[in-house]
């Protein structure tokens, strides 16, 4: 049985500002879950804290809007506990790269079987406009009166470097394209990271939307998505930002590894019952 995008909607009204890019992301999520053939009761959405992290409240699945920075470990636990469920983590750039940076590194490395959508507005929206890891260097924000001193991170470059097996970039303004990327991410076997440029009209200005549209470029024809180096090159092009699937490889996932471990654990002909395990503590007379 399949479900329509509408069946993934809840009747809770988003708290987002009029014009926020996250509305379009939400729209894409509804469509992508349907397109990927997910069932609401067999889908788990986990987020951290932020404007973007409010998203699970607006999607009819098992949803958890958790703690700032912790979406990935929670999604990992959920996936290992319920491997048959589709598990998707969502959140903001600050949530995923500042306080959540370490989990991003290790979830990528372990190739956890989940999709992760990062709504990247280059700012801390919910706390009202402080610089974050993707805020361009030099930008003045509420917390950087004299300009942001820190070099900004390209989330896709970081994901590739950390070992994510599927890495793509999208733009919330392009609902069709984003929906397609989300669908592929959900279907990917392993950790699929999608960086979605999603304007914050309130703290990055009404212009951000146009600016992003202007600088995005589709993936160049003939790009070899299996090449780390080629993918990396598409992550630092100065002016432009490439959207599409930058990197895609097939390698064992965390679940694959755990299945293999279970095989070995049972295989060694050893104790696989409570009683047998206990016997090991009984000294022979």
């Amino acid at each position: 049985m399949t479900f329509t995008a509408n069946e993934f909607k809840t009747d809770l009204k988003p708290v987002w500002c009029p014009g926020c890019g996250d509305f379009a992301v939400l729209n894409s999520v509804h469509r992508a879950l349907a397109a990927a053939g997910c069932a609401p009761h067999e889908t788990i959405l986990v987020s951290g804290i932020g404007c973007s992290s409010r998203l699970p409240g607006y999607v009819e699945t098992y949803g958890l809007n958790s703690l700032h920075g912790r979406a990935l470990p929670m999604a990992t636990g959920a996936k290992l506990a319920a491997p048959r469920m589709t598990v998707v983590a969502v959140g903001g750039d600050g949530d995923g790269l500042a306080i959540g940076g370490n989990h991003f590194l290790h979830a990528s490395r372990r190739n956890v079987d989940i999709a992760y959508f990062m709504m990247d507005n280059e700012i801390y929206g919910l706390t009202k406009g402080q610089a974050g890891p993707t805020t361009p260097t030099g930008d003045k924000t509420k917390s950087t009166t004299y300009g942001n001193p820190d070099p900004s991170i390209d989330p896709c470059a970081l994901a590739i470097a950390c070992g994510a097996s599927w890495v793509a970039r999208g733009f919330s303004g392009d609902v069709k394209g984003t929906t397609e990327l989300m669908t592929r991410a959900i279907r990917h076997h392993g950790f699929a990271f999608l960086n979605i440029l999603s304007p914050c009209v309130t703290w990055r200005g009404e212009e951000q939307h146009k600016e992003i549209r202007a600088k995005t470029r589709p993936i160049p024809a003939g790009h070899d998505a299996t090449s780390r180096e080629a993918a990396m090159r598409l992550t630092d092009e100065g002016e432009h930002v490439t959207t599409g699937v930058l990197y895609e490889v097939e390698r064992p996932t965390l679940l694959d590894e755990l299945v293999e471990i279970e095989r070995r654990a049972r295989g060694d002909g050893a104790a696989t019952t409570r009683e047998a395990i206990l016997r090991a503590f009984l000294p022979a007379a």
């Binding site: 809840t10 809770l12 069932a39 609401p40 009761h41 067999e42 889908t43 788990i44 959405l45 986990v46 804290i49 699970p56 409240g57 607006y58 999607v59 009819e60 699945t61 098992y62 949803g63 958890l64 809007n65 958790s66 703690l67 920075g69 912790r70 990935l72 470990p73 929670m74 999604a75 990992t76 636990g77 959920a78 996936k79 290992l80 506990a81 319920a82 048959r84 469920m85 370490n102 989990h103 590194l105 290790h106 755990l258 471990i261 279970e262 070995r264 654990a265 049972r266 050893a270 104790a271 696989t272 019952t273 409570r274 395990i277 206990l278 503590f281 009984l282 000294p283 022979a284 007379a285």
Partner: protein
């Protein structure tokens, strides 16, 4: 003639003091004797000083033993660092190398030179000083030599026959060597007993309770739990994840629990501190979680290898906001099994975080347990399997518990969060919702207090002195009470095994039945005393014996603190 004996073996590097202790413990457990074995180490990561203390008794014992009747020292320079924490019984027999004379302060004991190294060489097993020593101990205390051999065979199974034979010779030479004989009563009932550490009992309890997911990050003295469940869970179809840190560990646990698995993590103080925020989410989103915290010396990194009872404040109060949680504390190794199963039962039934406060002494000592005692009912989460339209995740109920659907159940979908929320889980910043939901979440504690008034009580009725203590202090207290009461004193103890919510009715009744109250704990700040005071009225003349951890509580210390014998004698 004494029923039970305690002996210590001290060495360093390759002396094998700890191995000798293990073999003695296994051999005695195998014939059904009761055994408690503790170890201590110097700061050196490896090759430093080490000591093993073994207590053996034909009747049940509750503590590691106050003082050693025999001490084997391969080098007195190694003994120095343990001296202040290893009391010797009056007339203790001290066996040492002839060329390493005992320091003056040991002159008062029965020092017997034994050429351990030479005897080992004679046996053709130069490395087997420790086995020679074991032979001596066997002869002195009349330990079951055959089962020592069995234990050796098991332990050395990877070595080749010649080596094993040489070790057997070393054992015989040791037993044959002239040494004082210490008659000991009782040989045990023959039926072998389990020999387990608290961490092992805890890990096994998780399996028993139906835990199918564990996530953790190594930390002394809890790491064995991670290691064992990493080995066991895959065997029974569960999974174990070693995470990048404790934030991820507790995050994965709460995530897995949200997805429907009984989940647990284990850590020690520093890790528990890092988990504070996520426990708040487990509490407000009402997602069951079990955290085993094995206490060590604090604050900060403190003394990682030694026991203390100073994480109580953090366990019962830690975390911002009004955050209902449950805290349990085992009294001994067997109890580590029962409290851990109870932790899962309470977490699953009442949908909140449950902390098990174990401590290094329980977690890492080895103790004999009767296999038959490891039974405990298991409770399941209230899951509505075909929820209808009206399903509300946080529906108001009398006991505050709302049935919880899990992913996979059609029509059970809900969206939750760590924000204050209404019955459907929808975020709300209204005072009325906040007050209503605080009340709902806290009602669960009342229900738990009624259903799980977990405590131990021992000693006389209507005691003259009532002792209040918790955790591993219960052992020495129990033995002290037996000693005092046999001398005619009237002492009893109340040991809560659930610290939050406290079994107040039972505790109050106990306090009312006592002429005097003495509180005993290993926390410099008197955390247990101050916690009790915050909830119950203590008599004005309540005595408190509180000190830092790092040295285990002894029965004698308890007797002195109770100061009741003087009166009896007077």
């Amino acid at each position: 003639m004494s029923k039970d004996v305690t002996f210590s073996i001290v060495g360093s590097g390759g002396d094998g003091a700890v191995v000798a202790g293990d073999l003695a413990a296994m051999a005695c457990a195998a014939v059904g004797l009761h055994v408690i074995k503790t170890e201590a180490y110097g700061p050196q990561i490896r090759g430093g000083e080490s000591s093993s203390t073994v207590r053996i008794s034909p009747v049940p014992i509750a503590a590691q033993g106050d003082a050693s009747e025999a001490l084997i020292v391969f080098k007195f320079s190694d003994f120095a660092r343990f001296r202040s924490e290893m009391p010797l019984a009056e007339g203790c027999i001290v066996l040492h190398e002839p060329d390493d004379p005992p320091p003056p302060e040991l002159a008062s004991y029965r020092c017997v030179p034994v050429p351990f190294a030479q005897l080992a060489k004679d046996a053709g097993a130069p490395g087997a000083k420790n086995i020679v020593a074991l032979g001596l101990l066997a002869a002195m205390f009349n330990l079951p030599v055959d089962s020592i051999r069995t234990a050796m065979r098991k332990r050395f199974r990877k070595r080749d026959a010649a080596v094993i034979d040489a070790n057997f010779r070393a054992l015989d030479i040791g037993s044959a060597f002239p040494s004082p004989r210490v008659p000991r009563e009782g040989q045990g009932e023959g039926r072998p007993r389990l020999l387990m550490s608290g961490n092992e009992a805890t890990a096994f309890a998780a399996l028993h309770a139906g835990c199918s997911f564990f996530a953790g990050y190594p930390i002394t003295p809890s790491t064995e739990i991670l290691q064992l469940l990493g080995e066991w869970l895959p065997k029974i179809g569960g999974s174990c994840l070693q995470t990048e840190d404790e934030l991820a560990a507790i995050g994965a646990v709460v995530g897995a629990s949200f997805a429907g698995s009984k989940s647990m993590t284990a850590t020690s103080g520093p890790g528990l501190s890092l988990m504070s925020e996520m426990l708040g989410l487990s509490s407000i989103a009402e997602i069951p979680s079990v955290v085993v915290n094995v206490q060590r010396g604090g604050p900060s990194t403190g003394i990682p290898t030694k026991s203390e009872q100073s994480d109580l404040f953090h366990a019962v109060y830690g975390g911002h906001g009004d955050m209902p949680r449950v805290v349990l504390a085992p009294c001994d190794v067997e109890d580590a099994f029962h409290t851990t199963v109870d932790a899962f039962n309470i977490a699953e039934e009442f949908q909140l975080p449950v902390i098990v406060l174990s401590d290094q002494l329980i977690a890492q000592r080895r103790e004999t347990i009767d296999a038959a005692s490891l039974v405990h009912d298991v409770v399941q989460r209230r899951v509505p399997h075909d929820p209808d339209q009206s399903y509300q995740r946080y529906a108001t109920t009398d006991d505050g518990v709302s049935p919880m659907t899990v992913p996979g159940i059609a029509g059970g979908m809900y969206q939750t969060n760590g924000l204050e929320h209404d019955e459907q889980g929808r975020p709300s910043s209204m005072f009325i919702t906040h007050e209503r939901m605080n009340a709902k979440r806290h009602r669960k504690l009342e229900a738990i207090a009624k259903k799980y008034p977990l405590f131990r009580r021992f000693g006389v009725n209507d005691p003259e002195v009532g002792i209040l203590c918790w955790g591993s202090s219960a052992g020495p207290v129990a033995e002290a009470i037996e000693a005092m009461n046999t001398k005619g004193a009237g002492v009893a103890a109340f040991v809560p095994r659930i610290l939050a919510p406290l079994p107040l009715r039972e505790l109050q009744a106990f306090i009312d039945s006592c002429a005097r109250i003495v509180i005993i704990e290993l926390s410099y700040e008197q955390q247990f005393h101050r916690y009790l005071r915050s909830l119950i009225a203590l008599p004005r003349d309540t005595r408190v014996h509180a000190r830092s951890g790092g040295k285990s509580l002894s029965a004698i210390e308890v007797i002195e603190a109770t100061a009741v014998l003087e009166e009896v004698m007077a």
